[in-house]
């Protein structure tokens, strides 16, 4: 134990044999002799005992030294101890929930792999468990903190929830291990930020803090007093680096209001193109902004009611140039390869134009009616796609609804866009309950093969009609004789998102019915297994919830 102290050796002198004489030779000398060899360098006092005798005497002496040194070890001097971890006043987990957490974390640590089988996938349940634990406001068990931090290190999506659960002691621990640096960096940790009411502390952190701390600080100050946040930003704006300016501008997205317009207008003249584009995007999401008005003027000159014939239609005259003023307002002049520049410009103009200008332009028609009008000269796809992006940006439910069309219409014939990703974004604009009903009807009409992305934006747990629609569709897919892994994505979502209360109703699906004639070989057994896993996962989630509320089941 080299780091403990060895007491001064006080050998008993006056012995007669060579070994005893060697006992008083300093240890370092014995090591040197041993390293070079006793033939070349016999240790002092070991002469006259023959070549083997010197070596044996050295070994004797070394054994004595070794045992004496080990037997005489003393404690080392203490290093200064770290600060004590801050108190966490939150209540501890109920016993059962504690055990469950250990089980979830052990599963994660052992790595994944292997066939899924009928048992629940515990790793997939960690996010939900953490979210529920945080809703209850529990404190993480101390002994689980390392495993929690490891989990969050491996999965960025777990970080916010894990760090909230790990609390101040988690941060304290992370400070001691460089592998957990991320926890300090990512800590929006209000505990670490000064109070927004303390202007001196705010200013100091703003000027001296790390980037992440400054972003967190800006967010906190803005939530408290938007005006103060803008003032803070203005103090150093000119000296910030371009990529930092971009993040600062982007942080205005939260709680964006008309009061931000002036600042954003100035940012339109920024040296960085990305900063200009982001400022323009934010301004266009403010329907009352001057930029939105300028964009509307441009778009209105391009899109108008058709004037020929009896049936109403939409006439489009795409812009012929992208002038400097347009560029200053964030229109990107160069299209990506494969796209015409005029349609590229048109798309950007319409996307940035407040949707509220269109009913007046089209004789008082509503969103659905306007979307339903035929568009001349093949501009329809371009125009509708731009309206979709506008509806998402402006979070306009009426337009989103109109552009999605009825859920029963096949996606390829829909009014807005065939892209499921775009449709998922439109859906996210609708109120949650409406979203679930829309997707339920969509699943009922078209099955599951295209529903994955749409299901992903529905609130969890799924509302009863949506849950029923998904389960019915899975049952139909089984009857149709396909393999369950064609639906593994939806199945996995269902395990995490179905209301646990549905478990009892689903029990009937776990029995193996007679194999349909045209079924794929063995499919029935796999379906049974998949439904068993679904039911046992739902049961487990229900158990987990009751464990976390501290109410035993049954």
């Amino acid at each position: 134990m080299s780091r403990t102290t060895t007491p001064a050796a006080t050998p008993t002198a006056g012995a007669a044999t060579a070994s005893d004489a060697l006992a008083s030779v300093p240890w370092e000398e014995l090591v040197t002799s041993a390293l070079l060899g006793t033939d070349r360098r016999p240790p002092e006092g070991a002469s006259g005992t023959g070549p083997d005798g010197a070596a044996a005497a050295l070994l004797d002496a070394a054994a004595l030294h070794t045992v004496r040194r080990r037997a005489g070890l003393l404690p080392a001097a203490a290093s200064p101890r770290p600060a004590v971890a801050p108190d966490d006043p939150r209540p501890p987990l109920p016993e059962a929930a504690r055990g469950r957490l250990a089980q979830l974390l052990a599963d994660r640590a052992a790595g994944s792999g292997g066939r899924r089988g009928a048992a629940p996938d515990l790793t997939e349940l960690i996010p939900q468990w953490l979210a529920t634990a945080n809703v209850h406001g529990y404190r993480a068990p101390d002994s689980a903190l390392p495993a929690l931090l490891d989990a969050a290190r491996a999965r960025t999506d777990l970080r916010p929830q894990t760090l909230e659960f790990a609390g101040p002691r988690g941060l304290w621990l992370a400070g001691l291990n460089p592998e957990w640096k991320f926890a300090l960096r990512g800590a929006s940790g209000s505990a670490l930020l000064p109070s927004p009411d303390d202007p001196e502390a705010v200013r100091r952190l703003w000027e001296e803090g790390l980037f992440a701390e400054r972003i967190a600080l800006l967010g906190a100050v803005r939530a408290h007093d938007a005006e103060a946040a803008r003032a803070l930003l203005a103090t150093t704006w000119k000296t910030e680096r371009a990529e930092d300016r971009l993040m600062f501008v982007d942080s205005l997205r939260t709680g964006l209001s008309a009061a931000d317009e002036e600042f954003l207008e100035r940012a339109l003249a920024d040296r960085s193109r990305n900063v200009r584009a982001t400022a323009a995007e934010l301004l266009s999401a403010l329907p009352g902004s001057a930029l939105a008005r300028r964009m509307a003027d441009r778009a209105l000159s391009c899109v108008s009611p058709g004037l020929t014939g009896d049936a109403p239609f939409v006439a489009v005259e795409a812009p012929h140039e992208c002038d400097e003023a347009m560029q200053r307002d964030g229109v990107v002049p160069l299209p990506p390869s494969g796209r015409g520049e005029r349609s590229w410009w048109l798309g950007q103009l319409v996307e940035a134009t407040p949707l509220s200008v269109w009913p007046a332009r089209f004789g008082g028609r509503g969103a659905a009616e306007i979307v339903g009008l035929p568009v001349a000269d093949g501009w329809g796809e371009e125009l509708h796609a731009a309206w979709c992006r506008a509806a998402v940006r402006q979070r306009d439910a009426a337009w989103a609804r109109a552009l999605l069309g009825p859920p029963s219409t096949p996606p390829s014939n829909g009014p807005g866009t065939a892209s499921l990703a775009e449709r998922a974004k439109l859906l996210a604009v609708l109120p949650p309950a409406e979203r679930a009903v829309w997707v339920a009807d969509f699943v009922a009409a078209h099955g599951l093969s295209e529903a994955f992305q749409l299901l992903g934006v529905c609130p969890v747990p799924w509302a009863p009609p949506l849950g029923r629609a998904v389960v019915d569709a899975l049952d139909i897919a089984r009857d149709a004789g396909s393999y369950p892994w064609s639906f593994s994505g939806v199945m996995g979502l269902a395990e995490r998102c179905l209301d646990p209360a549905e478990a009892a109703r689903l029990e009937v699906l776990t029995t193996t019915p007679a194999e349909p004639e045209d079924a794929s070989p063995g499919a029935n057994g796999y379906w049974t297994e998949a439904f068993q896993r679904l039911v046992s996962t739902l049961r487990l989630r229900a158990t987990m919830d009751s464990e976390l509320s501290g109410v035993p089941m049954g």
Binding site: M1, R3, T4, V31, A34, L35, L36, G37, T38, R40, D52, A55, L59, D60, A62, A63, H65, T66, V67, R69, R70, A71, G72, L74, P75, A76, A77, A78, S79, P80, R81, P82, A83, V84, A85, A96, R98, G99, R100, A102, Q103, A106, D107, A110, G111, A119, P120, D142, S143, L145, P146, W172, L173, L176, Q532, S536, R539, L540, P552, G554
Partner: protein
């Protein structure tokens, strides 16, 4: 052999032990079984589960075949039986069943065991009783032919003596030529010498020789470590060759160190034994499992050793953090730490208090004293009281609450993830830590927080 009726062999009214998830997971022989058992720890896989007041837990687990596996655990042993073909011990089904019992009140109801489970439980308990009963008049205990056995022992002692003399010659040759040459000669020389020691039926010498081979590659300061190890090996050789002149206890220690099997001696010590730690070390093709126990009344610390060969995990497994009422028979020599588990009484219960601890200075002094009985001891089991894990320039230390004296954490523990568990549980405040204290430092194996009054004591495993 006498068979009992098997009804209530373990004292009536004992509440059946229910282990925590952490305790069950700690029983897993490896990560793969832990993971597999975890998967089976949900209600979906199981049917006909149950437990009873004697400490039995049973259930049917659906596998890939048509017949479900029959799994039964006797938590008083603990002992496991499963109809699956796994060579892991306990198997994933036994772990899954215990996890289910630990986590889910509804999934494993109280009941009485089905016939297939009862058969095994009765048989096992009858055997355990018969074994624990002192040997009867049939001459049990002694070897069948004492004269032949004595001759065999003499022959073996002779062979070991030959091995020891040969090893002495190799060590002297090495010292004559110088350790510097050992760096070049590499591993082969030591492997060959180790093989000669196996031939000489001295596995203890073989093991130490093999470790010598690894020293030159062990980083800065290796010549010092090599000299120390050579010297201790020389000491062991000499002690074996001169064992007739040694006091009986030291001679017994030497016999064990050389690798001769020892059998437990003397009357069993009955106590309430707290399971402090359980961990496995792979040594060649064999896995050695160490289980540390602390006797609440005797104040003794004891070590149970068990071995698993060729991919099998050792058969003995005890949940850390419980107390078992049992008789323990110590082996002779080496401070009498090693013992065999004998008769068990009642079911395991959660531990109530950690062992009383000592200071850092007392701990290191205890190791020093242990060297008097066994100069080859690498470490000595101790419980430290009121220590704080503190980062130091070259690792971690356990520092007393006054911030004066410290024990460095042993290098082996520095690379173990559970070191962070110790730090997390401490939070910079003093706690009680059990571990092995030796010349390499302190290797922490279990910890207990101070805990408020009335709060249950939690044994945190650190390995």
């Amino acid at each position: 052999m006498l068979l009992t009726d098997g009804g209530e062999p373990l004292g009536a009214a004992a509440s059946a032990a229910r282990w925590t998830v952490e305790q069950v997971l700690a029983l897993a022989p490896d990560d793969a079984s832990r993971k597999a058992g975890n998967k089976l720890g949900a209600a979906g896989s199981w049917s006909d589960t149950g437990w009873d007041g004697t400490g039995a837990v049973w259930g049917l687990c659906k596998g890939s075949g048509s017949k479900p596996y029959r799994t039964v655990v006797d938590t008083t042993g603990p002992a496991y039986k499963c109809s699956c073909p796994s060579r892991k011990f306990p198997c994933k089904h036994a772990l899954g069943l215990l996890l289910l019992r630990a986590a889910d009140d509804v999934a494993v109801p109280a009941g009485s065991p089905p016939d297939w489970a009862r058969e095994w439980l009765d048989g096992r308990r009858a055997r355990a009783e018969a074994k624990a009963r002192p040997a009867g008049g049939e001459g049990a205990g002694g070897p069948a032919d004492p004269e032949a056995a004595r001759k065999r022992a003499e022959k073996r002692a002779e062979r070991i003596g030959g091995g020891a003399r040969e090893l002495e010659q190799r060590l002297t040759d090495l010292l004559r030529g110088g350790l510097a040459a050992a760096e070049q000669s590499g591993y082969g020389l030591w492997e060959e010498t180790a093989a000669r020691m196996v031939d000489a039926q001295a596995p203890g010498l073989a093991g130490r020789v093999r470790e010598l081979g690894a020293v030159p590659a062990s980083g800065p300061g290796w010549p010092v470590r090599l000299l120390e190890e050579c010297a201790l090996l020389h000491l062991l050789d000499s002690a074996w060759l001169g064992r007739d002149r040694l006091p009986p206890a030291l001679a017994a220690t030497v016999r064990t160190r050389v690798g001769l099997p020892a059998s437990p001696e003397g009357p069993p010590v009955r106590d309430r034994w707290l399971v402090l730690a359980q961990y496995d070390t792979p040594e060649g093709k064999i896995v050695t499992r160490r289980i540390w126990l602390y006797g609440e009344e005797s104040g003794r610390t004891a070590l149970l050793l068990s071995f698993g060969a060729a991919g099998r995990s050792p058969a003995q497994a005890l949940p850390v953090g419980v107390t078992i009422d049992a008789g323990l028979t110590p082996h002779p020599g080496s401070g009498q730490l090693r013992a065999e588990l004998g008769e068990r009484f009642g079911v395991p219960e959660p531990a109530v208090t950690p062992p009383p601890g000592v200071t850092a200075a007392e701990a290191i002094a205890a190791y020093g004293r242990a060297l008097g009985d066994d100069p080859w001891a690498e470490s000595w089991p101790v419980t430290l009281r009121d220590v704080i894990p503190v980062p130091s320039p070259d690792g971690w230390q356990l520092v007393d609450a006054e911030g004066r004296e410290a024990l460095p954490v042993a290098p082996a523990a520095l690379n173990r993830p559970s070191l962070w568990k110790l730090v997390a549980v401490s939070g910079g405040a003093p706690l009680t830590v059990f571990g092995e204290c030796g010349h390499r430092g302190f290797d922490p194996l279990a910890a207990w927080t101070a805990g408020g009054t009335g709060a249950p004591v939690e044994t945190v495993t650190l390995i």
